[in-house]
């Protein structure tokens, strides 16, 4: 147990190291571009450029440059944005992280509960009109671009019908920290996370439906019925037990990539100061240190979330614990 945990942690560190090298190489070791000028931003004075060159060691060999960069990013955490007038980059990212985390947690809650209800209902009532309706709705949800949906939601709840009783409660765009007002936090996140969840509900309901229907054909389900188990027990206890493995692995991937900035469009549309919006701003102003920081942050989150899902997987299926299914 401890050994597998240690080897898992080692793998994670290796992956993060690999990503950091790759990201560094893309930004700073691309031939034909002077990283100093890029960090300094457009129209920087020669003095600033010279200072940056000395500070980041751009006159030294690449490994030294890499070490300096990582030191600034993870150890001294004083990587500074020059575009944004000396703003420290790492605290900025750490400030944005809880916003993204809250948004994605809410969205995950919505999409898991929504897809469980729709997926199970569609599987139980397969080939009926309910099933067909739910699957068409799922397809619609799946194919609606989140930025468009977000704008429509904003239009309806913020301006058109904002003053009707339906949407009077909707707070203005933006984020309210949990520590400031839990109720305000929930209200501010409700619509953005629901919007983000819509396409996932569609996708996950479809996946769950087909997995569940496959599982119901298994011999072990026949055994469950032969034992005298009722339909509710057979579907929810035995059927789900067999079919949620691919659901969980899919969830892990999506959850991680959303945490790592994948909720960019939603955050921009709803003016949530999260990691995605930070990345968006950094890209718009070509703020290299900030981009570097957000990318590394995203990588770390994806790797951690993947490890957690692997652990969950092993809890759910004893066969995986013994490595019977291969990697």
């Amino acid at each position: 147990m401890i050994r597998s945990f240690a080897s898992r942690t080692g793998q994670m560190l290796l992956v993060i190291f690999g990503i950091s090298v790759l990201v560094f190489a893309i930004f700073f070791a691309t031939p034909g571009a002077d990283p100093t000028a890029r960090i300094a931003g457009r129209g920087a004075s020669p003095q600033v450029v010279a200072r940056i060159r000395a500070e980041y060691g751009f006159d030294r060999p690449l490994p030294a440059q890499y070490a300096t960069m990582m030191q600034k990013l993870f150890v001294s955490r004083d990587l500074t944005s020059f575009v944004n007038h000396g703003q420290r980059v790492v605290p900025e990212v750490l400030q944005a992280a809880p916003v993204t985390l809250s948004l994605v947690l809410w969205a995950a809650f919505f999409w898991v509960s929504g897809s469980l209800v729709f997926g199970i209902a569609a599987a139980v009532l397969r080939d009926s009109w309910v099933d067909r309706l739910l699957m068409v709705l799922g397809l619609i949800g799946l194919s609606m671009p989140v930025f468009w949906l977000g704008e429509v939601v904003n239009l309806v709840t913020q301006s058109r019908w904002h003053d009707t009783f339906l949407f009077r409660w909707v707070p203005p765009l933006g984020y309210v920290p949990f520590s400031q007002s839990p109720w305000g936090w929930a209200k501010a996140l409700f619509l953005p996370s629901l919007t983000l969840a819509v396409c996932f509900i569609g996708l996950y309901a479809r996946v769950l439906r087909s997995e569940l229907l496959t599982a119901m054909g298994e011999d072990s389900i026949r055994t469950a019925r032969a034992k005298g188990a009722g339909p509710v027990r057979v579907w929810l206890w035995h059927g789900l037990r067999l079919s949620w493995l691919s659901y969980v692995s899919l969830f892990g991937l999506d959850f991680a990539q959303l945490l790592g900035g994948g909720a960019l469009l939603t955050e921009v549309v709803f003016a949530m100061p999260g990691v995605g919006r930070l990345t968006y701003q950094a890209l718009a102003t070509l703020d290299l240190p900030l981009i570097m920081a957000t990318v590394m942050y995203a990588a770390v989150f994806v790797v951690i979330a993947n490890a957690l899902v692997d652990g969950l997987y092993a809890l759910l299926d004893p066969r995986i614990r013994e490595g019977r299914h291969g990697r």
Partner: protein, 317 residues
């Protein structure tokens, strides 16, 4: 032997929603303390017969009668049927690897069946599970109950399966090819176990394609061909002197244990008819070596001798 009749199928007829008849006329009975072997080729309908007794065939139309302990099962509500499944009658499946849920320990799965039918605490259920596993000859039953299906050998898995089937003391045990997925030595142990269960007073219905298994375990045999019972009787009598040409051909196809080895085993030419292309008359007529003009009318199951029934024109008085 005046054991009471436990299960009686009377002209059981089973058809698909589109009208294709899968079982045409299955009549057989199992008494307490008896083991009935249901023998037939793949696709003859022997498993379907077992499943229809358990009521596990939704979407198929059944008619005729299935009487279990004097109650008519056909047309029973799902709720009542559920109370019977697992408690009154239990089933053992062919492949214990796939028949158990792979993601829960076998002990938990046996506990579940016990708790579905009886109001017992978790601990009481587990105690019974462990006792059952021990009785089935599982070494270290307490530890075995905590293991997952893939961690046990095929033989132990099947023992656990049988323990699960017996957990609520069913009057009827249906075993659907219980030894097909096991190797020969394990097969013998499992069959011995089935004999013990039979001797303890339960009725056993053993579905198999193996005449050897029937000879070893059963007291009675029913030969099924293309959805019909063609011959039925005590095992010893049927083995010694099969009446139906199909049973004769089946028994001839068993390799002899002593004497010179034959160059080629006798086979039955042709193949069983598909359910939608069953002949009007005797279903075995196209492959039968004694075929006569009057085989064009389907023979009824008659009783030419005491305790033996056969559906063949050869024995029509």
């Amino acid at each position: 032997m005046d054991a009471e009749v436990l299960l009686k199928l009377h002209h059981l007829h089973l058809e698909l929603p589109n009208g294709t008849a899968l079982l045409e006329d299955v009549s057989l009975s199992v008494r307490r303390g008896d083991a009935l072997g249901v023998v037939g080729e793949s696709g003859s309908g022997k498993s379907l017969t077992a499943m229809s007794v358990m009521g596990l065939l939704p979407g198929l139309k059944a008619s005729g009668a299935i009487r279990f302990e004097g109650c008519e099962l056909l047309g029973m509500k799902d709720r009542e049927w559920r109370r019977l499944r697992g408690a009154g009658m239990a089933m053992i499946f062919q492949d214990p690897m796939t028949a158990f849920l792979p993601v829960r320990s076998i002990g938990a799965q046996i506990d579940e069946q016990i708790r579905l039918h009886e109001r017992l605490s978790r601990r009481e259920a587990r105690a019974r599970t462990v006792a059952l596993l021990g009785r089935m000859g599982v070494p270290d039953p307490e530890a075995a109950a905590k293991r997952y299906p893939h961690q046990l050998s095929g033989g132990l898995r099947q023992r656990a399966m049988i323990a699960m089937a017996l957990s609520c003391g069913p009057a009827l045990l249906i075993a659907d090819e219980p030894t097909t997925a096991l190797d020969v030595t394990v097969q013998a142990q499992i069959l011995t176990l089935l004999c013990e269960i039979r001797d303890s007073g339960a009725g056993v219905m053993l579905i198999t394609h193996d005449m050897g298994v029937v000879a070893q375990t059963c007291t009675h045999v029913a030969v099924v061909y293309s959805g019909l019972v063609v011959e039925q009787g005590p095992v010893a009598a049927v083995m010694a002197r099969p009446l139906h040409p199909y049973t004769q051909a089946l028994l001839e196809a068993i390799p002899p244990l002593d004497g010179p080895r034959p160059d080629a085993l006798p086979t039955i030419p042709g193949r069983p008819p598909a359910p939608d292309a069953r002949p009007e008359g005797c279903v075995f007529a196209p492959r039968c070596r004694f075929v006569r003009p009057d085989c064009a009318v389907r023979p009824a199951l008659r009783e030419p001798e005491e305790g033996r029934r056969v559906a063949c024109v050869l024995y029509d008085a």
